[in-house]
């Protein structure tokens, strides 16, 4: 039964940063499955640990100051955290690849688009330069870049932001990875371009059997439009996991409820007040001992400050970390 086996299993991942100000528990005991063929959304605000979780999967945490201090990440029966770095490097790109927020910084400004694409192939596979070039051109055409052949000779600054992000996506897909991690892939783009890029990512995924996307974003509307399942992070912990429709219909964690309430809706008018999560995001060096959301939660009661609730499955596939649902 290989289909039931998740593509990636994150078990008890803990990534901490050791700095002069103290230890930042950016990711603290995160467990999450990424299933074959799904689009999994990882949602949270700045400092929630969503990007650090993603970087940990590919062992891209800058060390020092960061270090993965515990847990395992199982991919194709192997623990990525125990593999030697050369092995991880082989998986990067061919098994799991990444698309970052800012396409200008993930492309090298002094090399042509063509050189950067073919290099990805040549670094991982034995094949001729000409074959690598042809595959790159085909990939550029597939991500919707007009006149792909002549674009190969151009430099990143010749392209618009949306076109650059298409090149980055082409690069991420060149080796047919089974998982693409997209970290805020459309945050730097305009709305109409964002819609183009999200459509493109879903189309390309549909053409690749079993391929999954881990979409990291702060934008719940983007999640609602693209994801199958959602995991909500806050204070370095997963707070709620649910299928996307279930999460929007029946959010169980007070933080998720607050987040959904704070989105100005398309029907909302001036007379409606936005639901507000009071206060600000807690200091990463000084997180609450119990529930991480306790300091801002309107529903807190006795156990919240002292004991951290555990992540409990309330209905099939809907997990929540909150004392309201355990007591």
């Amino acid at each position: 039964m290989t289909t039931a086996q998740p593509l990636v299993e994150i078990r008890g991942l803990r990534t901490h940063f050791f700095t002069e100000s103290g230890v930042a528990r950016a990711v603290d005991n995160v467990s999450l499955d990424i299933r074959r063929g799904e689009v999994l959304g990882l949602v949270g605000e700045s400092g929630s640990g969503k990007s650090v979780t993603a970087l940990s999967i590919l062992r891209l945490i800058p060390d020092p100051p960061g270090r993965i201090v515990g847990g395992e990440i199982l991919y194709q029966g192997r623990d990525l955290l125990k593999l030697p770095l050369e092995e991880v490097r082989k998986i990067r790109g061919s098994g799991i690849s990444m698309v970052f927020q800012e396409p200008m910084t993930s492309l090298n400004p002094v090399f042509t688009i063509g050189m950067q694409l073919t290099e990805v192939i040549l670094a991982h596979e034995v094949c001729s330069r000409e074959e690598a070039r042809q595959r790159s051109v085909a990939m550029l055409a597939e991500v919707g870049i007009p006149d792909a052949e002549s674009r190969m000779a151009q430099y990143p600054h010749h392209l618009s932001g949306g076109m650059r992000q298409r090149v980055v996506i082409a690069m991420a897909l060149l080796l047919n990875p089974s998982l693409v991690i997209a970290d805020e892939p459309t945050t730097a783009l305009d709305v109409t371009i964002q819609a183009q890029i999200l459509d493109l990512m879903l189309q390309l995924k549909a053409k690749r059997d079993g391929a999954a996307i881990l979409l990291i974003t702060h934008d719940l509307a983007v999640v609602a439009e693209t994801c199958d399942r959602v995991a909500v992070m806050y204070g370095g912990k997963i707070q709620e996991v649910a299928p996307v429709e279930e999460l929007f219909r029946n959010p169980m964690h007070p933080y998720t409820r607050g987040l959904i309430g704070s989105i100005p809706s398309a029907i909302g008018t001036k007379d409606r007040r936005l639901t507000v999560i009071p206060g600000s995001i807690p200091d990463i060096y000084d997180l609450p001992a119990g529930c991480k959301f306790e300091t801002r939660c309107g529903d807190r009661f006795e156990p919240c400050a002292e004991t951290e609730p555990s992540l409990i499955e309330m209905s099939p596939g809907h997990l929540v970390r909150c004392h309201l649902h355990t007591c």
């Binding site: 709305v191 964002q194 819609a195 183009q196 459509d199 983007v222 100005p264 409606r272």
Partner: protein
Amino acid sequence: MLMTDTILDVRHLTVRFPVFGGVFMRRTAEVRAVDDVSFTLRRGETLGLVGESGCGKTTVGRALINILRAMSYDVEVSGQALYHHPSGVVNLAGLSQSAMRPFRSDIQMIFQDPYSSLNPRKTVAQIVGEPLRIHTKGTVAERADRVRWLLEKVGLSPDQAERYPHEFSGGQRQRIGIARALATNPKIIIADEPVSALDVSIQAQVVNLMQDLQEEFGLSYIFIAHDLSVVRHISDRIAVMYLGHLVEMGSADDIYTRPLHPYSRALLAAAPRANPSARERRERLPGDVPSPMHKPSGCAFRTRCSIARSDCAEAVPPRTSRQGRDVACPYSE
């Protein structure tokens, strides 16, 4: 003395940036970042200004402030900005520095980035007190009182007045920026992407605060933003811009439920909706925004428009009133 409904009447605002090139760095071309934009702002209302990067929405806001400061440098601003002051209608664009003085404190600005718009070397009391020092005659003690009152109004503790900006979170810094804008008792506030740098949960706090202050002080807002849902939420009327042109303007409800201009339609269709049960394939705008240096002739949107005809290339379509709003497209229905 006649108090009209209108507080600011902007007519034919055009902003040109010269482009220099060649061996002698002569002026070779110009970019019209804002091209013949007219709108009115009513008392106590919020006018949302939306569009994508490069559409000129920020430049409109800056131009109004620039007119106010009566400075031009090499940017050329033309047009009229008629300010309906209790003493009569004044064209701010035609005033000298000294003639401008009494009106300058009436229009204030809130900026996007709460990290770079506050001087890191000054305390909150100095930052918020600065416009008071310049525009009012009060004593030091009176100013300090007013600063404490302002901080309370924006939801900060007056005890924090002696702290520096870096000691505050992004949302709190934006509150400081708002307190500074409020200091001189302005009538109009131009807010340029005031919440887009903030986290979602903090965004809602600042939006609510701006609405409360508007109600309490009868402020008129020009709210510039790219996030369509935030604009919809806060605005009474909305103006949509594309490549320097104002293509449609009307009530927020009209524009969001029945956009007429093909660009407004495409823009709204592209905005993601926070409702996973209502996913649908929507019309997508092809291609990129053209460079403002090489703006298409006639209607600037025609190169990406699904209903463009051959005569769209000939002249910029005039704005006409239809179905309760102004639209710059003769062919949309």
